[in-house]
Symmetry: C2
Amino acid sequence: MSSAKSRDALMQELEEAMRRSSAQGVMYGQAVANMAGISNSDMECMDILHLEGRVTAGRLAEVTGLTTGAITGVVDRLEKAGYVRRERDESDRRKVFISVVEEKAMEIGKFYVPMQEAMLKLWSSYTDDELRLLLRFANDGYKGVLQATEALKAVIEMPPEQRADLKMPPKSRR
Amino acid sequence: MSSAKSRDALMQELEEAMRRSSAQGVMYGQAVANMAGISNSDMECMDILHLEGRVTAGRLAEVTGLTTGAITGVVDRLEKAGYVRRERDESDRRKVFISVVEEKAMEIGKFYVPMQEAMLKLWSSYTDDELRLLLRFANDGYKGVLQATEALKAVIEMPPEQRADLKMPPKSRR
DNA sequence: GCTAATTATCTTAGTTGCTAAGATATTTAT
DNA sequence: ATAAATATCTTAGCAACTAAGATAATTAGC
């Protein structure tokens, strides 16, 4: 029982620590977007392009949750600033592929140097086995968040009375 | 040398896994804000209030990076919707403390239930020692991001020529 | 204790980026 | 051919932001 309690406390601390660092990470991203002179959404699209490579405008709308109209604006701005190029798909000429202009995108990459150095320094203090645990955790965490997003959609479609029956998460004390 | 290489690969995978899960976490937060019918910034302020408790309008501006004028709007909306209360500080009547109306804020908390259940499930598959490692990592990571944010400010104040000399982070291949 | 400077928030005008709805262009199905 | 579906773009209107300055309260200098 006393061991269970300390485990609960551990989990609560963990939740808060992750919330804090994640919030701070968001702030860092905003600061970078600011310095690059582009909006948050523009930055998010650059990030998606970096992770997924060449994608269509529609895919960007899907992933960001923005309307296709908004994406037109995002791509207009990024293209004007020279960060991306529009490329019509020759086999289906309705589609527009967006691809990164690497030379220009590197200018943004520089702003991530402080963050990457901080992370490298942090990671260097862990053993290979510990890093493997962290990797497993990050991957499992990603799956968990994806599942949670699905579950959240289920809440939307729930009738309000049933929604009220949801048990609340344990509140953190401060 | 081959062990060093696998360690580098590990770190690169880790970086990407963390980027992905963090991006997905942001998406989840946006979905919750949407369902609660409040904007992203409003949600972020609610989060800060949850983490820091009763804070002044100025503090919200400081932490979010918004102008004080924008915060006035945020608090107006949140107050109108019943999520927070304005309370003038009696000892310094220029200050306005913002405090959460818990009963109303719980309505938002419900949307976090899927996420918290996913996290609890995830964490339950780790031993106490492993959780302690994760906690240490999350805390160190927070400190790292804070430091990186400071270092980023240094880049701003750097003359452009010097900025160009910054070594680029290793690019991930895909 | 008066005056100036500072601090904290609010107000206003103008800008940006979003959505919703629908236009355009292309492809697929009947 | 014609209709339906798909992918992007355009437009009008709106929500939330910034910059600048107004207001009100506090602190510091004389």
